[in-house]
Amino acid sequence: MLKVEEQQPVAFSSVFLANFDEIVKRYPAGKQKSALLPILHLVQAEFGWTSVPAMDKVAEYLMIEPIEVYEVASFYSMYFLQPKGKYVLEVCRTGPCCLVGAEKIMSHIEGKLGVKEGEVTADGLFSWRGVECLAACGYAPVLQIGPDYTFYENLTEQSVDELIDNLKNKQDLRQ
C-alpha cells in the first residue's frame, strides 16, 4: 500500500499527449485500453518511473479506472513503481548467462556502484538489478539500460567498468 501524498503531481504536455493519440489510433474504436502498455513505456521514459499521479492521468486519458492501470503496471516487470537511478543496469541472471559468468558480473557491479540490488547510488545516477532472460543468450553475459534498452553484450568486468565510467562522464559533460 502506498501513500499518495508522497508523490509529486505530474503534468502531461500537449506534445506528450499527442504521442498517446498516435498510439490509440492503432486499435479499433473503443479498444483504447490496448494502448496502456505502450503509454506506460512513454511515461516511464519521460519521468523515470510510473508514479501514482502519472498512472491516474493515464487512466483518465484512456477512460479506464485507475486500478486497471495499477494492476497492469504491477504485473509487468519493466515498469518501476518506485523511483530508480537515472541509469538502471539490468543484468540477465537466467541459466545461459550464469553458465558464462553473469553472477560474477553482478557482484562486480554491486562492488563498483557500492549499492545493493534495487537501491540507488547517492548521486542518483545508478541502480542495478538482476532480471530474467533477455533473449540474448548467445552473447552472454548481457545487460540492458532503459529507456532505450540499449544492449551491452559479452560483458567482462573490464567492459562493465568502462560502461559505468562512460555513463558517469557523459553525465559530467552535460552539467
Partner: protein, 336 residues
C-alpha cells in the same frame, strides 16, 4: 430434444441443457459427485478455472468424438458435450490431483482457523478436511501481508486469500466502480487498492459473502462470535434499494442480531446480492420480518449447536456428587 445433451458423471447419467458446464451438470445430480469449487461462482460472469479444485477426468469426449481429453479439465469451465463421460470421485487420478491442489492452496495459508471469523463456514476449511494432509510438507516461511481495512465495514486479510478473483468480479459486475484489484504477479499477487482508497459502494459488502475464505470479513461482526454459536434465521424487509430484494439471513446470538448476510444456497452461493444498508445498518429484530430458521445441512459444523436442549445424562440425575460437579450446566438446563 435438440437442446438437451446427455452426460454421465461417475456412472450417473443426466440430461442437461446445451452449454451447461460439467460442474453445473454435476450440481443438477447433486450429492458427493459434485466437484468442489473455490473460485467459480455461477452468478459472476467469467469466474472459475483458476483454483483448479474442480478438476475432473473426461474419459470420453462425446458421442461424436469419443477420445478422452488428454489432461484433467476444470469442470466449471468445460462445456458438456452429448455423450460425454466424466469421472470425479471414481477416479483416483482426480482425487490425487485434487489433493495436490489443496496442498498448494494451503502451503501459504496461515491456518489461523482458531482466530478466523470464517471458521465454520469456510470452503477452504471444508476442502482441507476432505482432501488435506494431516501435516504440512512446506517448511518455509509463509507469505504474509499487512491486514488492511478497505472501508469502514470490510477488512482484508490478504494472508488468507486464495486469489479466486470473485471479489474482483463482484466489483466489476455488481457495483458501479472498481477500486480494488489484483496487484503484482505470481505468488506476490495480492488483492489491494494500491493506494489508500476506500471501497465505498452500495453493494460492496457482497465481497464478504462471495469470499470463499476469511480474507474479506465483516468488521461489524469481527470477533463477535463463532458462527456455530449463532442461530441463522431467514428474514426480509422492504428495502428501498432498487437492486436489493431485502431477503437475508440474520445471525442471532440470544436476542441480538450479530450479523446479516445474503441467503446462501447448498453450494454456498448467495441467492441474491444484498445492499450495504441491509447488511450493515439493520441490526435490530424490529427492522425485519422473520420467516423461518435457516436450513443448515446437518453435516455443517454450524448445525452442531442448534436447536438442541442440553439434557443431563441419566447418570447425573441419580448421583448427587455428579450433580454438584455439573451445577452450572444443570442450572442452564433449567433456564432454557
Amino acid at each position: 430434444m435438440d437442446n438437451l445433451v446427455k452426460i454421465t458423471i461417475d456412472g450417473i447419467t443426466v440430461e442437461v441443457a446445451t452449454g451447461t458446464s460439467i460442474l453445473n451438470a454435476a450440481r443438477q445430480i447433486g450429492g458427493d459427485i459434485v466437484p468442489p469449487a473455490m473460485c467459480y461462482y455461477s452468478k459472476l460472469e467469467g469466474s472459475g478455472g483458476k483454483c483448479r479444485t474442480c478438476i475432473v477426468k473426461v474419459s470420453k469426449g462425446s458421442e461424436k468424438d469419443p477420445r478422452p481429453m488428454p489432461k484433467l479439465v476444470a469442470s466449471c469451465r468445460t462445456t458438456v458435450m452429448d455423450g460425454m463421460e466424466v469421472q470425479n470421485i471414481t477416479s483416483p487420478e482426480v482425487l490425487e490431483a485434487r489433493n495436490g491442489v489443496v496442498e498448494m492452496l494451503l502451503i501459504n495459508h496461515p491456518l489461523d482457523c482458531p482466530v478466523c471469523d470464517q471458521a465454520g463456514e469456510c470452503d477452504l476449511q471444508n476442502l482441507s478436511y476432505e482432501h488435506g494432509l494431516q501435516k504440512t510438507r512446506y517448511e518455509f516461511e509463509r507469505r504474509t501481508f499487512e491486514r488492511i481495512d478497505i472501508g469502514e465495514k470490510i477488512q482484508l486479510h490478504m494472508n488468507r486469500c486464495i486469489l479466486c478473483y470473485r471479489c474482483v468480479f463482484v466489483a466489476d459486475q455488481i457495483t458501479n466502480k472498481r477500486v480494488h484489484g489484483i496487484l503484482n504477479r505470481g505468488d506476490h499477487s495480492e488483492i489491494s487498492t494500491y493506494i489508500q482508497a476506500v471501497v465505498e459502494n452500495d453493494f460492496s459488502g457482497n465481497v464478504i459473502d462471495v469470499c470463499p475464505v476469511g480474507a474479506l470479513t465483516d468488521r461489524t461482526f469481527r470477533f463477535k462470535n463463532r458462527v456455530w454459536f449463532t442461530k441463522p434465521v431467514d428474514a426480509h424487509r422492504n428495502c428501498d434499494h432498487e437492486k436489493c430484494d431485502g431477503k437475508v439471513t440474520l445471525w442471532y446470538k440470544g436476542a441480538d442480531v450479530l450479523r446479516v448476510t445474503a441467503r446462501k444456497d447448498q453450494f454456498g452461493e448467495v441467492e441474491s446480492f444484498i445492499c450495504n444498508t441491509c447488511r450493515f445498518d439493520k441490526k435490530a429484530t424490529s427492522d425485519w420480518t422473520i420467516e423461518q430458521p435457516t436450513y443448515i445441512s446437518d453435516t455443517s459444523v454450524i448445525a452442531s449447536n442448534h436447536y438442541e436442549t442440553f439434557m443431563p445424562l441419566p447418570v447425573i440425575k441419580e448421583n448427587l456428587a455428579l450433580q454438584e460437579a455439573n451445577k452450572v450446566e444443570l442450572e442452564k438446563t433449567v433456564k432454557f
